[in-house]
């Protein structure tokens, strides 16, 4: 008797709470979000002259030395697959992981043999999401001479672009200062097409 009573209450209760928290709540939030923050609610897409160039929040892979490179990404079957986020999940002494770090350092040196600085940690490791849109300021400065040289730009010009796309600590103390790689590379391309460079 008690069992049946609780069973009936359970079935009605789960229905009521499904309507309230599974339908009304998310739909109300969607409605308000679309009204108040439409750009952010829809993925912070970068739109210029009606064309979409990716999202401010989702990184892209770069291997051309004229671009700043993003961090490593462990998503499959290709890097920065935003339909299937993933970290590498390599343990710290896994040989495959250490080989990957070694190869990354070689790749960076191969296109920039004169650079003798130590490589910042974030530039040789894969992010947790596989979609990290940022690199550290140190990782941008490490790559700066290479990018300037290949694009025949003066280093100060590139440095001011890096500064422009550097996001500081939020509220002055939260998080790490970081550079948005896609936005920086888009700006580099734009600078060169404006100045009629190669």
């Amino acid at each position: 008797m008690m069992l049946l009573k609780h069973l009936r209450t359970s079935i009605i209760a789960i229905t009521v709470f499904t309507v309230l928290t599974g339908i009304l709540y998310p739909l109300a939030v969607t409605g308000l979000a679309q009204l108040m923050f439409p750009k952010k609610a829809n993925g912070s897409l970068i739109v210029k002259d009606g064309k979409t160039f990716g999202s401010e929040l989702i990184g892209q892979p770069f291997s051309d030395p004229k671009y700043f490179w993003s961090r490593l990404s462990a998503t499959g079957p290709f890097a920065y697959n935003a339909g299937a986020s993933s970290g590498s999940n390599y343990g710290p002494i896994n040989q495959t992981y250490l080989d990957g770090v070694k190869k990354r350092i070689q790749d960076l040196k191969a296109v920039d043999s004169s650079n003798t600085q130590p490589v910042p940690a974030d530039l040789v490791t894969a992010s947790g999401s596989g979609l990290d849109p940022h690199i550290s300021v140190a990782a941008a400065l490490y790559q700066l001479p290479r990018v300037a040289r290949i694009r025949s730009l003066n280093q100060d010009q590139v440095r001011s672009l890096v500064a422009q796309y550097t996001e500081g600590r939020q509220l002055g103390f939260l998080g790490e200062p970081r550079v948005n790689v896609l936005k920086l590379n888009l700006a580099l391309d734009e600078t060169q097409s404006l100045s009629g460079g190669k």
Binding site: T21, L57, D64, G91
Partner: protein
């Protein structure tokens, strides 16, 4: 460690402490059915729910009736979650055409969300339709959390009352937890998160061009990036507040669409511990002695602070194997440094370290960095936090009732040492209470160790290992530790979406939730009947610094000793291998 890192951590802990009292006092009003400022809006809705469900809000029940209500309600929820996943391909709001989820994965996920574990055997953006995320997962995020809070409210009344029979009404406590506490906080938090860039839409996935095209592993050129979309913010807000932790996306709160900025990260991290911390104050209020609540808060906070700074220091010092390769892991104002594998640049080391500690302390289990890639000692800390039984703030409701069980044990052991009758807040602690407490403390380690042992000797178990050597053992130990504690975080390299792990893990989650919740209610049912023992000279005060340290000692000894041999085989061996 940098000064800025320490400042961020201090700010977080201070915010958590400052919010405990106002929210805790509000929740005490909710459970004592007193007037709140939300009554004009939510009162009519609450009465409507009672009318529809035919719940009589003034009818109280004993522990058995409440336990039955909890079990049946959660079982019905579990069935619903299972069925929705199995038929999602026929339902609307499925723009990506997701197919039915496999039976074993559906079972695991249904158990996972009904038990407030939110272990993810699946990848959200590749498996679940928007409707499944909303109807199945978001709903359980609310009601499984509310169920835990209701059990706590019933347990607290068992301590607050004397010479009584009933503990309250599970239905009323569950309904009021959802309406007055979880829902308002979730609405506010989800909108703030959207303002930071968390997505909230019902659109199909968006395709955008890569600035520089790339090639996939098969050598095929890829020119476009597909951005996963969906109603993420509404689910993320409640997954943090309800210590659920199941992410919208595969990588959970490391995903930039789930956790886009340091401020979003701070708020999500605050939401993880907000309710569990404030419930300590609620407890003090309801037993009419707020010092008792603060004492428990202090014990939890001291363990947490120690773990957080230990974690920050080991992750910040990086990986010596990378130093040998010429990698710069020094933390500076322009370089986050440290062990960055599996971590996001915007969070850096301090925010990743705090999150990893907090999410394993609470039974939340959401992650903003990949625990599998932590240094061996960092991984060890996450495992230790889990092994303590999720009592350092812990899950909403379940964390505090877990800690109160340790309080009972601490009082009992102290009583034995000095030869006095053990008592807690006017209740004599006798053989029955100790039987229940021992049961509660032993079930989790037995479940974890037996299932881990089974997995390392069977082919199906070993097939899940990704990293070789001691790390592989840690992965399996973590699987069952996480599930038996209803945490849900993972050493995510392990491939556990297999029938073997879906079934054994489901079992661990069921045992970890209900085999603990039912004896907890039984214990409350026994306490509530006892006559009030007046405070005398022989009473051990349970709000003093001495008792706080004694409680910490009991928690650490019980938690650490059960698992020390297993930890020696995994992270501790790996640490020495890394330092070689």
């Amino acid at each position: 460690m940098t000064l800025n890192g320490i400042l961020q951590i201090a700010f977080y802990l201070a915010a958590l402490t400052l919010l405990a009292k106002p929210l805790g006092a509000f929740m005490a009003r909710v459970y004592q059915r007193e007037k709140t400022f939300l009554d004009p809006v939510l009162g009519p809705l609450e009465r409507l729910i009672y009318r529809l469900t035919k719940i009589s809000p003034d009818e109280e029940m004993d522990w058995k009736a409440n336990a039955v209500a909890l079990l049946i309600f959660n079982f019905v929820g579990l069935i619903v979650v299972y069925l929705i996943q199995r038929v999602q391909q026929f339902l609307p709001l499925n723009p990506q055409g997701m197919a039915a989820v496999t039976p074993d994965s559906s079972f695991n996920t249904a158990v996972s969300f009904a038990t407030n574990t939110n272990w993810q055997g699946y990848g959200g953006e590749t498996t679940m339709s928007y409707l499944t995320q909303m109807l199945a997962l978001t709903v359980q995020n609310f009601v499984s959390a509310a169920s835990g809070m209701a059990v706590l409210a019933l347990f607290i009344r068992g301590i607050a009352r004397h010479s009584a029979k009933t503990l309250g009404n599970f239905w009323v406590d569950m309904t009021r937890s959802t309406l007055y506490i979880l829902l308002p906080l979730a609405i506010v938090l989800s909108l703030v998160l959207v303002s930071q860039g968390v997505i909230q839409n019902n659109s199909a996935y968006v395709s955008v061009p890569f600035l520089q095209s790339t090639t996939d592993t098969a050598g095929v050129k890829v020119t476009d990036q597909v951005l996963a979309m969906g109603p993420a913010a509404s689910q993320i807000a409640i997954k943090q507040l309800g210590t659920n932790g199941g992410g919208f996306f595969n990588v959970n709160s490391a995903h930039p669409y789930e956790n886009p900025t340091p401020l979003a990260d701070f708020l999500e991290m605050l939401a993880i511990l907000l309710i569990p911390a404030a419930l300590c104050y609620t407890f003090g209020k309801m037993v009419k002695d707020t010092r008792q609540g603060w004492a428990i808060f202090a014990a939890m906070m001291l363990i947490l602070v120690t773990a957080v700074f230990w974690m920050y220091s080991v992750e910040g010092s990086g990986n010596p194997k990378l130093t040998a390769l010429g990698v710069d892991q020094q933390s500076t104002s322009i370089n986050p440094g440290g062990n960055m594998e599996g971590k996001e640049v915007r969070f850096g080391i301090p925010n990743s370290a705090v999150w990893a500690t907090v999410t394993t302390a609470a039974s939340n289990g959401s992650v903003n960095s990949m625990h599998d890639s932590y240094t061996p000692l960092g991984g060890l800390i996450t495992l230790i936090m889990l092994h303590l039984g999720e009592v350092v703030f812990g899950g909403v409701g379940s964390g505090l009732y877990g800690m109160l069980i340790f309080v009972v044990v601490a009082v009992f052991v102290a009583g034995l040492l000095v030869g006095r009758t053990p008592e807690y807040l006017g209740h004599k602690i006798e053989a029955y209470e100790m039987k229940m407490a021992s049961l509660l403390i032993l079930i989790m380690p037995i479940t974890v160790l037996v299932l881990t042992a089974l997995s390392v000797v069977t082919a199906a178990g070993k097939a899940g290992i990704m990293n070789p050597g001691p790390h592989g053992f840690s992965e399996i130990l973590y699987v069952f530790t996480s599930q038996a504690n209803n945490n849900g975080s993972a050493f995510a390299g392990a491939s556990v979406n297999t029938p073997f792990y879906n079934f054994t893990g489901g079992l661990a989650m069921l045992i970890g939730r209900y085999w603990l919740a039912v004896p907890t209610l039984a214990l409350a049912g026994s306490l509530v009947k006892k006559k009030l023992v007046p405070v005398s000279e022989g009473t051990l005060p349970t709000h003093t610094p001495l008792f706080i340290f004694w409680l910490i000692a009991v928690v650490l000894i019980v938690g650490a000793l059960n698992f020390l041999p297993a930890l020696a085989l995994g992270p501790i061996v790996e640490h020495f291998m890394m330092m070689q």
